[in-house]
Symmetry: C2
Subunit: 253 residues, 2 copies
């Protein structure tokens, strides 16, 4: 049995807790958070702790807290032999180099507290300070996901940045469309099948090949008509993305 401690009480921590609880061969022996009230997602309250000095010996520690708090917490923790990992996309592995065994366990997914996620489909990006630790991390990761990748710190930062584009920014485009629909008394739901298909398409095609629309066809008349319909802020976004598409596909600007 591989003994695991989870540190944190946010979305990532709660999804790790759920997935690790259900996996074969893994045992969560403690969940730590300074405010113990936030650990209400843990079924067994006896394994919840709020005092970092009470941490038990485990094989693996998963630090799933805010990026900016990782370094400070690491200084406080007194862990001798277990492998200490964080789950951040942007924090360097070296933030944990005070430990003998350290690494990164980064799930590329967007987690919301009450949205169940099929963890077996979540890509896990692993990094560790020794090949032995990396192999151990791979063994653990394979128990919870089918998609395990070895990714160095630089690549992980690149992935995290890519995730901002595909997740945060595209969700914001959906939000702007939602706002615009409301202004025109249209239900946003009318766009949902299109959004779904946009994504289904790129499961088969590369996004580069799936591009359509006025910018792609260089349809300046439609582009001008659209620009005239938008407020200044949305206009700027429309313009910059249109120019970026035209540039990429060698259309005239």
């Amino acid at each position: 049995m591989i003994k695991v401690v989870i540190i944190g009480a946010g979305n990532v921590a709660s999804h790790l807790y759920r997935s690790f609880s259900e996996a074969q061969g893994l045992e969560i022996i403690q969940v730590f958070n300074r405010n113990i009230d936030h650990l209400n997602f843990v079924h067994d309250s006896e394994i919840c702790i709020s005092d970092p000095s009470k941490l038990k010996e485990a094989h693996l520690y998963l630090i799933a807290i805010k990026d900016e708090a990782i370094t400070a917490l690491a200084q406080e923790l007194n862990i001798k032999t277990g492998l200490v990992t964080h789950t951040s996309g942007s924090v360097s592995m070296d933030a944990l180099m005070k430990f003998e065994n350290y690494g990164v366990f980064y799930p590329i997914q967007t987690f919301s507290k009450n949205m169940p996620v099929d963890f077996s489909e979540v890509p896990l990006c692993l990094e560790a300070n020794t090949s032995e630790n990396l192999n151990f991390l791979k063994e653990v990761a394979a128990k919870v996901s089918n998609k395990v990748f070895e990714v160095n710190s630089e690549q992980r930062r690149a992935l995290h940045l890519s995730a901002v584009f595909v997740n945060n920014f595209s969700n914001h485009l959906f939000t702007l469309a939602q706002e615009y629909c409301q202004q025109n008394e249209l239900p946003f739901g009318i766009l949902r099948p299109l959004i779904k298909e946009t994504v289904s398409k790129i499961e088969i095609l590369e996004p580069y090949s799936a591009q359509t629309g006025p910018a792609m066809r260089n349809d300046q008349e439609t582009i001008n008509a659209h620009l005239a319909m938008l407020d200044e802020d949305k206009q700027k976004i429309y313009k910059i993305l249109t120019e970026s598409i035209q540039k990429l596909y060698g259309k005239k600007l």
Copy 2:
């Protein structure tokens, strides 16, 4: 039996052909395109025509050609009684006002030639010059889709513009991420589950409520680190979308 003529040979025309062929109570009696070779998606070559003067009497004409060609084609067509519609998101219904009966049959979906689409899930936005014509159009639309909406020309233009945001622009963000992944020797596929989840989420949540990421959390350190990793063009896009998120959620810029 409702007799239908399809005009055009592009993605929309071929998907309309497929869906109308399979529907109960509809009969496609002709498909018109100037270059008859492009009508290879039509099973029965005898109904294909390339001479607009050979158009038969039908109950419904669906013009699915490029936006900029609609007005000119309409001038050429000699249709007496049937209902003449176009399928464009951005062209006004008035482009067809020379006919006695006219309207719009706008499917909000992204069509690629070899990607089958479940037409019953495609929202159809209808408009017509009389309520009688509108009712007839609704009757036809209900035979091919479960999602039928009455939408005026102004709302339709707003929808078309929204579709550019949710489809064209978000696909371009995926393409930029793909390019960036390639530069960092990462397979784009590693991001696919995240993209899928981004969309699954907004089937339950409104996109406004689903927003996450450094801009949303006002995490300026990560934002600065990301900006430093990008070339000038991607930097501009990152910046403008980050500012737009911060503005929308009342974060400091």
